[in-house]
């Protein structure tokens, strides 16, 4: 079971988003991809948890959180958590918070896009590529 969540935090307020992948029965495979952009003074708080209970043997769980911070006033507080109570599992998570890659911007500018257009294209690609 794979799902993707898109978050657009684009207003100057605090956003709280909580996600949990709970494994309470054996043998389940769960994948959650979260893609977020933060701009216009937004303050994004994400807590993403994978929780595997003792009886949930043979679980396979992956959580991937990627956040792009687009301007100076915006910020992110990201907490990926794991609570694993049995050994027969594969569980991992990854979280990346970064600005837009200036190399990518330059590449697009070299193709004739201005900064705003370049950023828009990159962001669209970021949000759709899960």
């Amino acid at each position: 079971m794979t799902s993707t969540k898109i978050i657009r935090a684009d207003r100057p307020k605090i956003y709280y988003k909580d996600f949990t992948l709970l494994h309470s029965i054996p043998g389940a495979t769960k994948r959650l991809n979260i893609r977020a952009i933060v701009q216009n003074g937004a303050d994004l708080h994400i807590t993403g948890s994978i929780h595997i209970l003792p009886q949930a043997r043979n679980s396979d769980s992956f959580l991937d959180i990627r956040v792009l911070i687009l301007d100076e006033k915006s910020r992110a507080d990201i907490r990926p958590q794991l609570e694993i109570q049995t050994s027969d599992v594969k569980a991992s998570h990854a979280a990346t918070i970064s600005p837009v890659d200036p190399e990518q911007i330059f590449y697009l500018q070299a193709r004739g896009l201005n900064y705003a257009q370049a950023q828009k294209l990159i962001v669209a690609g970021f949000l759709s590529h899960a």
Partner: protein, 472 residues
């Protein structure tokens, strides 16, 4: 290397056998009554002949301690009864125990890791001191030539009060957390290290060599000052299982890494399984300074320790390599914190843990990049091995980025030893236990590589032994 059961008599006269012969030093055998009172704190300060400003620091810390609640996060601290603890203990100069009565598990470990007999007795609390006078004197003259100060903290305060006053409590104030307040009120022992500008100390400084304060550090306070362009590697702890009479250890380590200086602080901790090991370790790193914490946690009933770096100068770097092993009835709640307060700073955290036989490891970490800290990078990797279904592993990281020019990457993987990996090694003739141990040591090897060789070899053998027992 001097962790052992401090059992003392209750006389208040100086012992005639005190071997150090430092003529300006007066030490008494003393054991305070149980419980933490103003009276106890005053007694401690008086016995150490401290300047009034240190007494004041202790007293206001005591007030903070009484004010603050016991933390409810992290491990379970509910069983600690602060009223029952003796807060000041001085080791006796005579033999205080019987080798035959020492726990056979401890003896077996000494055997396994090859600790010489004389050291075994010291470590097991049988003999109060061992004679390292010869080693210590030559080390002292070697360091004195370079202008390096390396003393016990008590001695450091006595000989260099102004220097200590300048730095003591500036990184970890007593109000920081309850255990820091406790330590500030009753601290005793620990190390005072000062490295002058542009001085490199190539030999790792070990707490082992602090002959003049061999007391078991329940509430050790360590202060390390590395001036501009200097370099030092400090090693603390001992991988032999260290018995302790006192069941609460609340230490504080403050490290000041000045411009362009490099400091590594390595700890190998293997406290016996009755000990609560709650430590605050913090470094401030100035421009282009480098700080590296290598933190090996094998023992104790509960360890809560998160070596931290405050990166206050441009291009400063901080690194924490954390290793945790939790067996039966153990909880290692460990990790690291990195605060980026200046631009172009970078940090790295590598945490590896193994839980087995019902043990629990928890990674707790913080990476924060402040608004003014432009262009910073941080990478966190935490990997956990859980060896059996009774055991547990958690990860609780926080990643806060407060500007738009920095990158933080974090990844965590929890896994077990694969059946295929075990089969592969067994097909080469290793028993199942040997295979599992080899895999666990391989898993931990990126961190063990950063520990001085003698300790690293002991660590590998210890991992082997810890896993063999798998009993509480």
């Amino acid at each position: 290397m001097s962790r052992f059961a401090p059992i003392s008599s209750s006389t208040l006269t100086p012992s005639p056998d005190y071997p150090l012969g430092h003529s300006d030093q007066v030490d008494y055998e003393f054991r305070s009554t149980a419980g933490l009172t103003e009276h106890t704190v005053r007694q401690i300060s008086t016995f150490k002949n401290e300047p009034p400003w240190m007494l004041n620091i202790r007293l206001s810390a005591l007030a903070e301690f009484n004010h603050m609640p016991t933390p409810k996060w992290g491990g379970d601290l509910s069983r600690i009864d602060f009223a029952k603890i003796h807060y000041y203990l001085k080791p006796s100069q005579q033999s205080v125990g019987d080798w035959d009565k020492v726990d056979s598990r401890i003896k077996k470990t000494f055997d396994k890791i090859g600790v010489p007999q004389a050291e075994r007795e010291m470590l097991a609390g049988v003999k109060a001191q061992f004679d390292s006078e010869v080693i210590y004197s030559s080390l002292k003259s070697f360091l004195a030539k370079k202008g390096v100060i390396f003393l016990g903290m008590d001695e450091g305060l006595r000989q260099y009060p102004d220097l200590v006053r300048q730095y003591f409590g500036k990184l970890v104030p007593s109000a920081d957390n309850k255990l820091a307040a406790l330590n500030t009120a009753v601290w005793s022992g620990g190390s005072f290290v000062y490295i002058p500008p542009n001085t490199q100390v190539d030999l790792p400084l070990q707490a082992y060599f602090r002959i003049n304060s061999p007391a078991a550090g329940q509430f050790e306070r360590t202060l390390i000052i590395a001036e501009e362009g200097s370099r030092v590697h400090y090693v603390e702890g001992c991988s032999a299982p260290a018995y302790s009479d006192g069941s609460l250890h609340a230490a504080v380590v403050e490290i000041f890494v000045k411009k362009g200086a490099t400091v590594q602080y390595t700890t190998v901790q293997n406290w016996y399984k009755n000990v609560y090991n709650l430590v605050t370790k913090r470094a401030r790193v100035e421009e282009e300074g480098h700080m590296r914490w290598v933190d090996g946690n094998l023992g104790s009933r509960l360890t809560m320790k998160y070596p931290s770096c405050f990166l206050t100068g441009r291009k400063a770097t901080g690194e924490t390599l954390s290793l945790a092993l939790a067996g039966s009835h153990q909880h290692q709640d460990t990790g690291a914190k990195m605060y980026h307060l200046a631009p172009e700073t970078s940090s790295q955290i590598l945490a590896k843990s193994v839980s087995f036989a019902g043990g629990r490891t928890s990674y707790r970490g913080m990476v924060q990049i402040n608004p003014a800290a432009a262009g910073c990078r941080s990478k966190v990797v935490c990997d956990a091995l859980i060896l059996d279904p009774r055991s547990r592993s958690d990860t609780y990281p926080t990643n806060k980025v407060l500007n738009s020019t920095s990158t933080v990457e974090h990844e965590a993987i929890v896994s077990r030893v694969g059946e295929d990996q075990l089969f592969y090694l067994m097909s080469r003739g290793l028993t199942e236990h040997q295979s599992e141990t080899l895999i666990v040591n391989g898993f931990l090897s990126p961190i063990i590589k950063q520990i001085p060789l003698e300790y690293a070899v002991e660590m590998n053998r210890l991992v082997d032994l810890e896993m063999e027992g798998s009993v509480g």
